[in-house]
Symmetry: C2
């Protein structure tokens, strides 16, 4: 990726804006090279854009001040959360300010009676769950990384629980956003539903910092289920594991998690997390509910998997066993990286309707085999979403090209089957190439909205819009 | 409401546009007075705006043609579905074209394997459910009226099932929309989730025809539950019925429906639907799930209601008994109207966080009593949403004023408690007065989006935006 292709502000403009920001925020405005470098990228494929300044605001008013000053002088602003996004969202491609939201770390309000809370954008999902542990509530959305909730809102993230609890889209009731011209706007309400006007909340959710900055989030919470049972079921064939998922979803079976790992991903997970399973296609399952409800669901799922040649369920009933299992699942990115030290990991994020999942997964698997590349498959298959971790040597032009071609075909296959190139990672820089294919004329509408809400184009330039 | 306050197109412009539309659509363009009158209003409070023309398009291309011709000549367009909206959305306040979507009545595709379908916007919720009955699937969102799904999308409607299945917001995967300048745009995908770009789907859901016309909708479907049990539980006191709801929601109890009717609404329902219950505050409940799961949920709810002084559950287990019960619930608008023939019914649509529901409901009840008006309360209290049906004589200025004041206070009370003036009916004309109070600076963002997507302001003028 040509990281510095966009024009950058002239040094005297950065100097003037930097001085103005420093006057109010003091040492929380910095141009120290180490800090700039640290804020030049996220995780995932290399996408580097070094900002000119990193700013650490602490209040909505400070964010408004920073944006207004930058907007006046057309200085780009790239919001930065926990640094874990995978699609290049964090690279300051046109320089300017990287706005580090890490100090927005307050949990503002938890209301168990309404099953909701309000947090600042820099709070991570793990910090929130640790904070509310004693209330008997939890927040379910769990991407692999310990991401910030602001970043998760901005990328419309999800995770392993989405099949039951939904994604960030379904779990955000309202936001506080700061517009590029420095207005502080509260969207939505605390009510569970509303028909009162345009849905600004869902316009900002998934907008990847291109319309403004999300500073606060009103989130739904859930009661920790009375009974939680996790189980592992192994298959000889990938198609049987997928068929079991599709059958389960069509059977009104309520599962909280249905994760698929192919034999390559299992090899990576077993090595990295020291698991005691076979290297075959595997489902990680979790059931939430009342004791009898869970028992019925488990029995029904066992019938389905047995019919399709799945092995005996290996249960993880104790909390520590469940934690270990899901930690292994959450660490699959690291596990893949450890599989071939020195190689890079090109992630894909295809998501298709459940009816298309078997064909999409099996065609993709055949494509991987034909490519000669190593690319483990892991997926939130209950949502129709799966990832490849395509391993390649960035110094090997041929391998890099084959990896890129495989990733491209995987995204386009999903789109051609009525799905999307990005189930949960966002567009950032890497998925822009698929936006026209997926959205067609919708792109013009997205650009019109972007122009209306960020007329000077200062917010996260070079991302999302083709 | 001053229905004709907005400037209307000059007659020669209407004549020219009418001729152009007739050239392509023939007799499906009409200025017959009876048809114009029929398209001048919805249900609910009087809000009349007689269109100059009514057009009945049959294809996306025809809608695009109509909008493009109207846009060129700045002729207003008001989309019209089943005619059941309650907030004045359908009045052609500035004349122009009423776009009747009734011929968009095709169910385009049903995919049981993905639990989804694609319908044209004029399909009603009952027509869809009749069509898919044999698949073992159903579409849960059920406003009182047999509304069109396009209208339900446009107003972000919900109904009695939302506590379990969500509203239109949660159940729409994608749309086809036609923009004012005549582009046909497909939003979203068939995947259950997506992070690929701005959420155009949810921008149009709830936009009440002010950004363009929704012509097709991709909807989620659900398997008909194995076991369905409906029950009625009566209380002596309203506060005890509400307390039972709040306790149930905090207890991880999964109910499909939790409807509250106060003693006045019960009197109306008993008379209108010939029910055999007492005239006291009542919960209508429904449980969905596996046989054991439902049994556990029913037992738990009985414990909760008994602790709070509720009576024995009166079960409606046979499908015909359940139908009768929910039909009575869905007919509550008509039942209220029948309570005082000749009076009008001013509806409110407050929705608050569950923690605020007891205070909001009880303060509102006291306010009704103090007002001296008759105003039954009925609500989807599992969502924090409740309606008053304030009966008033429109020829009695004092009573009308008191009704308006009561409705105003009810909406503002909800907003002040962190809720919304409109849980599910939309803004239309009647709720505009609350938009500033609810959204503050958000109004400017909504207007910016409106301006970007409908620069000539032809789409449903006079609605939603203050």
């Amino acid at each position: 990726m040509n990281a510095n292709a966009l024009p950058r502000p002239r040094p005297e403009i950065i100097a003037a804006v930097g001085a103005s920001l420093t006057e109010r925020l003091g040492a929380r405005v910095t141009a120290a090279q180490a800090v700039l470098d640290q804020h030049s990228h996220g995780e995932g494929l290399p996408a580097v854009g070094v900002p000119d300044l990193v700013v650490f605001p602490e209040t909505n008013e400070e964010v408004a001040f920073v944006l207004a000053r930058c907007n006046e002088r057309r200085v780009p602003v790239t919001p930065f959360g926990a640094g874990s996004s995978l699609e290049g969202q964090l690279a300051a491609l046109a320089g300017g300010v990287s706005l580090d939201m890490g100090r927005f770390a307050k949990i503002l309000e938890v209301t168990p009676e309404s099953l909701d809370c309000r947090v600042q954008a820099g709070v991570t999902r793990e910090a929130l769950n640790a904070h509310i542990r004693d209330t008997g509530l939890f927040f379910p959305v769990d991407p692999g990384a310990n991401a910030s909730l602001g970043g998760m809102a901005s990328t419309r993230a999800s995770g392993t629980n989405a099949v039951r609890y939904g994604t960030m889209r379904e779990n955000i009731l309202g936001l506080t956003v700061v517009t590029p011209d420095g207005r502080i706007v509260r969207t939505g309400s605390r009510a569970r539903k509303s028909s009162a006007g345009l849905d600004l909340t869902h316009l900002y959710v998934g907008s990847e910092g291109t319309l403004g900055v999300i500073t606060e989030i009103q989130l739904r919470l859930y009661g920790v289920p009375e009974t939680i049972v996790a189980a592992v079921c192994q298959f000889d064939k990938l198609e049987d594991a997928v068929a079991a998922v599709v059958t389960a979803l069509q059977s009104n079976l309520e599962m909280a998690r249905i994760e698929l790992l192919d034999e390559v991903q299992m090899r990576a997970a077993i090595r990295y997390s020291k698991l005691d399973y076979a290297e075959t296609p595997t489902l990680f399952l979790e059931f939430h509910g009342s004791p009898n409800g869970v028992r019925e669901d488990v029995e029904m799922m066992q019938t389905i998997t047995t019919d399709l040649g799945g092995g005996e369920f290996q249960f993880a009933e104790r909390p520590e066993d469940r934690s270990r299992l899901w930690k292994a699942r959450h660490n699959s990115y690291q596990a893949v990286m450890a599989l071939s030290p020195g190689k890079s990991n090109m992630g894909t994020d295809a998501c298709v309707p459940i009816s298309a999942l078997p064909a999409c997964l099996l065609e993709t698997k055949a494509d991987i085999v034909a490519s000669g590349l190593t690319a483990p498959i892991v997926g939130h298959v209950g949502d129709g979403n799966f990832h490849l971790g395509i391993l390649f040597d960035p110094n090997d032009a041929d391998e890099t090209e084959r990896a890129e071609a495989l990733a491209f075909r995987t995204a386009r296959r999903a789109i051609s089957m009525g799905g999307t190139c990005s189930g949960e990672h966002g567009v950032g820089l890497h998925k822009i190439v698929h936006m026209e294919a997926e959205h067609g004329q919708g792109i013009a509408l997205m650009k019109a909205v972007k122009k209306a809400l960020d007329p000077n184009g200062i917010m996260n330039p070079g991302k999302l819009y083709p």
